[in-house]
């Protein structure tokens, strides 16, 4: 129990997928203009993360490993992730059109979200069990959510700030992200106890 909590804490805060591992920067910069869409995006990503990590675990352990096809991991994972995202999009379009309208442009981004592939590959590399893999993915999703929503709030305020033209737009976004990463350094070591 305690161990699982540490995995969660570790992936969500200490080794935050965006701010410490620098994975998934594309949606982090792209879908952080409004708190609401950031929330939708991060929830969708968390969902996809958990789903794909479970699927890729099955793929890895039931297909690739027994057949000795480890070298096809990246290709196979991409295939599964892309199909899953597509599927999620279809379902979302049908059942929650409002959310789809907000995320419509960005959902396909999850396909190429390196956080999703990265987490799946990391799990495979470490040979983690099924439950830890899913937990790890879930923690990463939570970390992604925290980072994205915090950042969206900051950017909503940035939009109202009188940022000098030289910094306005992406530059100040990256500076803010850097400072946010600086703040997250404070969580270092939390899971060592």
């Amino acid at each position: 129990m305690n161990e699982w909590l540490m995995v969660l804490l570790g992936t969500a805060l200490v080794n935050n997928v965006v701010l410490v591992k620098f994975l998934g920067l594309c949606p982090f910069m792209g879908v952080s203009r409004k708190i609401d869409s950031a929330l939708g995006m991060s929830l969708a990503t968390t969902f996809v993360l958990v789903l794909t990590s479970a699927l890729t675990w099955v793929l890895e352990h039931e297909l690739l490993a027994p057949l000795g096809l480890g070298y096809l991991r990246i290709l196979g994972f991409i295939l599964v992730i892309a199909a899953t995202v597509q599927f999620v999009e279809l379902v979302m379009k049908k059942n929650t059109p409002e959310l789809h309208q907000v995320l419509g442009l960005y959902l396909p981004l999850i396909t190429t979200n390196c956080a999703v592939l990265g987490i799946a590959l990391l799990n495979a590399q470490e040979g983690a069990g099924f439950v830890p893999s899913v937990l790890y993915a879930f923690g990463s999703g939570v970390g992604f959510t925290i980072a994205l929503i915090l950042f969206a709030g900051l950017r909503e305020r940035l939009a109202l700030a009188r940022v000098p033209a030289a910094f306005s737009g992406a530059p100040i976004g990256f500076i803010t992200a850097g400072l946010l990463a600086l703040a997250f350094m404070g969580f270092a070591g939390l899971t060592n106890h």
Binding site: I35, I149, L150, G153, L154, E156, R157, L158, A161, R162, V163, P164, F167, P171, I172, I175, T176, L179, L180, L182, A183, F184, M185, G186, F187, A188, G189, L190, N192, H193
Partner: protein
Amino acid sequence: MNLFVSSPHAHGARPVGQVMLLVMLALLPATLAGFWHFGWPAIYLWLVTVISCAFTETLCVRLTGRKAGPALADGSAVLTGWLLALSLPPWAPWWAGVIGGAFAMVVCKHAFGGLGQNLFNPAMAARVMLLISFPVEMTQWLAPVPLGSAEAPSALGALAITFGAIPDGMTSASLLDHVRNEATQGITLSTSLTGVYDPLELSVGVRAGSMGETTALLLAGGGIFLLFMRVIGVRIPAAFLLGIALPAALAHFLAPERYLPPMAHLLAGGVMLGAFFIATDYVTSPSTPLGQWVFGLGCGLLTWIIRTWGAYPEGVAFAVLLMNAATPLIDHYTRPRIFGRTRSGRSLPPAAPKGN
């Protein structure tokens, strides 16, 4: 005479410059005590940091094509430098002050558009940046060597420290460092605290630490002065102190051998400075009353968590930065109730008049 002048036609507020002056006034006693405790190197470091901030502020304002005079006159740059100096090890090398000050002004303030636009407290962001980049220099604490005492360096000798290096054998650990080190060696608190922890000593500053960490009593006094002058509100400092004292008290009650007593948490490190002077920074703290409680509690709680379980012995700066990051979100979700409306924003129902 000008047309299109909007009401009101009278103003009753303290101008921004005056607010900053009052804050500096409140910081003065603790700073002077710090100077006395740590002598000339501390004074030099303070000067270097403040000058660095003022200089980079001037530079930035000039770059944006404005006159530097009014921007400097509001005192915010000097105050940032001052707060940064107070949070550095008192005998830190000169370049720490210069780099920190420049980072605070250029990256944390003017890149965002100057006064009022920044998202993170510049002093704390600079402090954290220095700590991460120069961990050795930023953790060289020393026990107080009051001005006039035998070990205190002379005004001239101090130059060699600020612009050179600290002589060997002078450094010592702050209380939090000490506890952290002992704890990693498996020594219980009651042993490690013997002869080290004395609330009275901590409150008057006879302890290793940064200038703004040691004289807790004077800092709290300055904070209360600001409260009294209505420069700051009571919510953030109160919530900050509660946020650290409550979990600390609970943990200490459950496992006194593992967790520091709440008094030690309150008096050691930068809690007083943080609660009264850093977290209360207008620009980077929430604007809603409820949000200010949340913010303060979050600062306190995070400080305690980082101190207790984190890799860094002191967590005030990190906690403040993290809560700064959460400020827009807190504001977004804690909007005050509007008169005549429910919290969710719907109009109150017409109430049937009471019979009379």
